[in-house]
Subunit: 139 residues, 4 copies
């Protein structure tokens, strides 16, 4: 992958104050695929003490967006057009790993699939899947 | 509406630590309809300084969930099965208002539509729509 | 509404051989809103004798697409980018009415909400809701 | 896989009059995965002569539904709760292959991912992806 694109993804990620607020980390960037990790925190929960669906969604939407950006021309910016998430199981774990993977990159629109796994010790369990549409904007 | 149900919604909302973290407030609960407000904060943004799509999603998913809960038998709990969000416009505003409205309440599944508006002075602009499926669980 | 646009919608509808195969009729075209009707037929059913979800989807996707086209510049063509449908109740009825209504018309993308009702005698019951994204292409 | 379940899938498929109307064939049934094929026909098209999105949706929704049914207890019936489809490319081809694959099978709800490919000579091109929720009903 073009190293300028990786730099662009990392620079854009660093500007997202909300990702800092929730403690999300960008752990993998390759062409068409991005991984984000988030450690569990008790101030990010819903009413049963599980990670809030909004936090789960935030990290996988971000992974999908940057997966799309990694395939766009240099200097592009990416915006989420829409996404759908299926919440398979309660978000219980020590860490959460979100992966976005491009299904089809187009000039205007890019389709991306996402997944979130919960990690507990050595265990990894799929807890959510996403289907997203991203749009490229000139930077 | 049954006032016990309103109490149940308010009690459940208060237990969600993530909603406190982002500053979301429950401002309206009626049968099949719930409203949540969130003031803009600079630590909840994406890379262009707009409210992060994950925050937009969090408040409208929550409004949809409690709209569903308001129609369920007393003692139920509600979980999001899935939702889709369309992001119509950048989330620019002083305050954000999320509304969830039940389309069809069933014994197991409840379908809910959601909307998010951005408020700027006297202006209110629709910025996102949600279509969600919620499931009732015995409490 | 520009009458050329209504003509364009009607001309495009007439070219869709599948809509003829299933007996769909274009019954209303206005700016940002389109209605399509389909009489029940026993060769359009699923395993319980209800109208097949694929037929329900076909008419409401089409209504959403033309609702979007009605807001686009003359000479445009419209393609579905994605849609989500919630199937609220079994599709039981003598006639089915699909309505598409534009939520936000943009230069490239247009967001549309759709609904399908089943008609039985004087009764009309909401059986499905759609949330769709459409894209304009130069004709 | 339990051969009674395969029989149940085949028997249910045979009862769907709409699938006969469009010429869909059930070509593969295994535990958690179902494949359906549809030859192109000129009476199943949209305005540009491509296979109609409603037909694409019909075959992949059906593949997803039966993939879910293949994991349910004997005697169950399956209904689509909701699905979302992303239309990646125009549906141009001699044959179309829809695959549904279970992501998570639950007691009440089953989550399924679907794909549709267009076949042209030896070529196979992914043209659509689906994310669906199915519900089990006692038969």
């Amino acid at each position: 992958m073009n190293s300028n694109i990786e730099k662009a993804v990392r620079a854009s990620f660093a500007k997202q104050t909300f990702l800092k607020t929730i403690g999300a980390e960008l752990i993998g960037v390759s062409a068409g695929e991005v991984e984000i990790e988030l450690p569990f925190r008790s101030d990010l929960c819903q009413q049963h003490g599980f990670l809030h669906a909004g936090v789960v969604t935030s990290i996988v939407d971000t992974a999908c967006g940057y997966a799309a950006l990694s395939m766009m021309p240099e200097g592009s910016e990416v915006l989420s057009v829409e996404f759908k998430i299926n919440l398979l199981s309660p978000a219980v774990g020590e860490k959460f790993l979100a992966r976005g993977k491009v299904v089809k990159a187009g000039k205007t629109l890019t389709f991306v699939n996402g997944e979130v796994s919960a990690k507990n010790g050595g265990d990894e369990k799929l807890i959510a899947t996403m289907s997203a549409t991203m749009i490229a904007r000139a930077g």
